[in-house]
Symmetry: C2
């Protein structure tokens, strides 16, 4: 089972790694990290870098197309090379998995029209503007499309998808493998319950600060061709 995870400049590391930590352990999984150019792709914090060792031209088709989010996701929504890649792989994928504002990239590629999806809470209106029906869930399936809320929700959504693909025992075994019995020091059931002042900080951050910060700091490492 081929799993193709998209990377792009300014992705959020946990958007990628939450789902990867689950789906990568499915029996027979072969994960590849794909980007427009094969190099070390810098994340939103500019200190983290992940190896993309396939480029778009090397992936003809895949079983699971995995699109993460991050402050760098917005420019991808008008990057025709990325949108064409997403459209092409989605055409024959068994599953298309979108995390956080990675769902916006799927929407911009035109594949969510009429679909019911979730996304991170600040991207809901944007995703809806592409004709998707957006629900405030942690994860949501519509046919072969599985979408999740922001960042860490990729873990829950991937466990849900793992159960569909490989059965409940396997999914529970992976859950134990990553010891995912979460117990955050402060609990809310959803972002909608978080007090307004905190929501406001993140709204402003998500809408501009993170993107500007990302663009003003160069990656902390060399980016040789791989």
């Amino acid at each position: 089972m081929r799993i193709s995870i998209l990377l792009y400049d300014g992705f959020t590391m946990l958007d990628v790694v939450g789902g990867y930590a689950v789906l990568g352990w499915l029996p027979g999984a072969e994960v590849e990290f794909v980007a427009e150019r094969k190099t070390i792709i810098a994340d939103d914090l500019r200190s983290g870098g992940m190896a993309a060792w396939r480029d778009y031209s090397e992936v003809e088709a895949t079983d699971i197309l995995y699109v993460p989010g991050g402050p760098g996701g917005r420019p991808q929504m008008t990057n025709e090379a990325t949108l064409a890649f997403v459209r092409r792989l989605h055409e024959t994928s068994s599953w298309t998995f979108g995390v956080c504002n990675g769902v916006e990239i799927l929407a911009a590629a035109g594949i969510l029209k009429g679909k019911t999806v979730t996304t991170n809470y600040y991207a809901r209106e944007s995703v809806a503007s592409f004709g998707a029906h957006v629900v405030p869930d942690r994860y949501r399936r519509d046919g072969k499309i599985v979408t999740t809320a922001g960042v860490s929700a990729g873990i829950d959504g991937a466990l849900y998808l793992a159960r569909i693909i490989a059965g409940e025992d396997t999914a529970k075994t992976i859950q134990l493998g990553i010891e995912y019995y979460p117990h955050p020091p402060f609990s809310y059931a959803s972002p909608d319950e978080v007090p307004d002042p905190i929501r406001e900080v993140i709204r402003v951050a998500e809408e501009s600060i993170l993107f500007e910060r990302m663009n003003s700091i160069p990656p902390r490492f060399a980016q040789p061709s791989l």
Copy 2:
């Protein structure tokens, strides 16, 4: 605030990224990824690679020393270069943060004698054999040492540490930033409640299969010097 995250061949990606996604957003945080050699370090699945852009000699001291786990952690327990690095940075760190069997590396470095710590559930006896008092908690603080249970527990432990360092509002804001309102499809409160057949699969996997698998598969990418 300097945060130095250790990478080594065969680390587990979520051990690193769970805590990084939290601590990396602390005000003034400067994260660096450190390994014995500056290159792309391959994870346990061999398809994931992260850039280590500092080597041991380049880090004289740090504020937060962060040691993740993974199947590749065991060889590090007898790698004198790594143990000396951990000992040296721990001497003056403000905080030393160990995730999963990364706690075993801290133990092997001799810095946990008489300390109360947690670790992933299958490493409890090993960590105790180095003179630590091991509790089955999700995360645990003893002085400047904060340790967590397996893999994804790094998220909870890092939020706990973020609250100590930067206060509750900041920690809650980071929690919203990563939308950490977990809702796994199947819930247990701890690994100790998981049914025995699943525990047995993971015990065998953790004790030999993962390490052998890691060693039998070469990294899927080039590893140039950075």
